[in-house]
Symmetry: C2
Subunit: 123 residues, 2 copies
DNA sequence: TAGAAACCTGACATTGACGTCAGAGGTAGC
DNA sequence: GCTACCTCTGACGTCAATGTCAGGTTTCTA
């Protein structure tokens, strides 16, 4: 498939896909005229990249770990990197859970106060 | 306390604290000569701001919700905003948990393959 | 009462993951 | 073959949360 189709299938912009290739996170075959062509597995690859981005992992780090994630094989060095990111992801989750509790306590109080007719003070 | 002390207490840079004030997220009293002075509660405030930042909430959104978070009182409109962010935080947590599973499965496979002596292929 | 250290404002620089635009060539349906 | 749409490269723009530097004032310490 060409880049537009991959973009719509993954929900990622064409620009972003070119950027991924620029960062060597995504590979394409080129037609004679230079147009990018992708196999079906590119969809999974792009979604994987998105997932890692969402975990706050930089493109450089993704580049480092990607072949290992794909093949399931890693050197001890990359293994350490992966474990580092694992801890970081866990910490992010914990932080977000804290934030969630914070928001919930605010919401609980706010709903009550709203019921009692007290408005929100301006900033 | 002055800005430097607040910075060391919170682990946030002086520059960042000035930025928070610029964004009206943080208030200071000024001495005659113009230096910022903070009360003890500023520490909690800064940590709260950091927590909201970590949840991916923008400074504008924080500004909107901050008085309500602090006072525990919110208008219906702000309430809706808060609920929106709550959903977003939950989704972030779920996404990160997905990523964690992904990383774990990679780690499991990688450790095994490492035991079997297969190296990580280069990018 | 020096001199160092902390603070001030203002402004430009940075980083990462894209958005957007220009100008040109490729592709597909009729 | 026309037309509309897709794609290409290259380059500059963006946005948010800072970093950093300059040039000057204030505060602390010896």
């Amino acid at each position: 498939m060409r880049i537009g189709e991959l973009a719509t299938k993954t929900g990622v912009s064409v620009r972003a896909l070119r950027y991924y290739e620029e960062q060597q996170l995504l590979v394409s075959e080129r037609s004679e005229s230079g147009q990018r062509h992708y196999g079906e597995n590119a969809v999974d690859r792009v979604q994987l990249i998105q997932q890692l981005y969402a975990a706050g992992i930089s493109s450089a780090a993704i580049l480092e770990m990607l072949p290992c994630v794909v093949t399931g094989v890693a050197s001890p060095q990359v293994l350490a990197t992966l474990r580092g990111h694992r801890s970081s992801v866990i910490k992010q989750i914990e932080d977000l859970q804290d934030t969630l509790r914070q928001l919930d306590s605010v919401l609980a109080g706010a709903v009550k106060s709203h019921e009692s007719g007290v408005p929100c003070p301006p900033a």
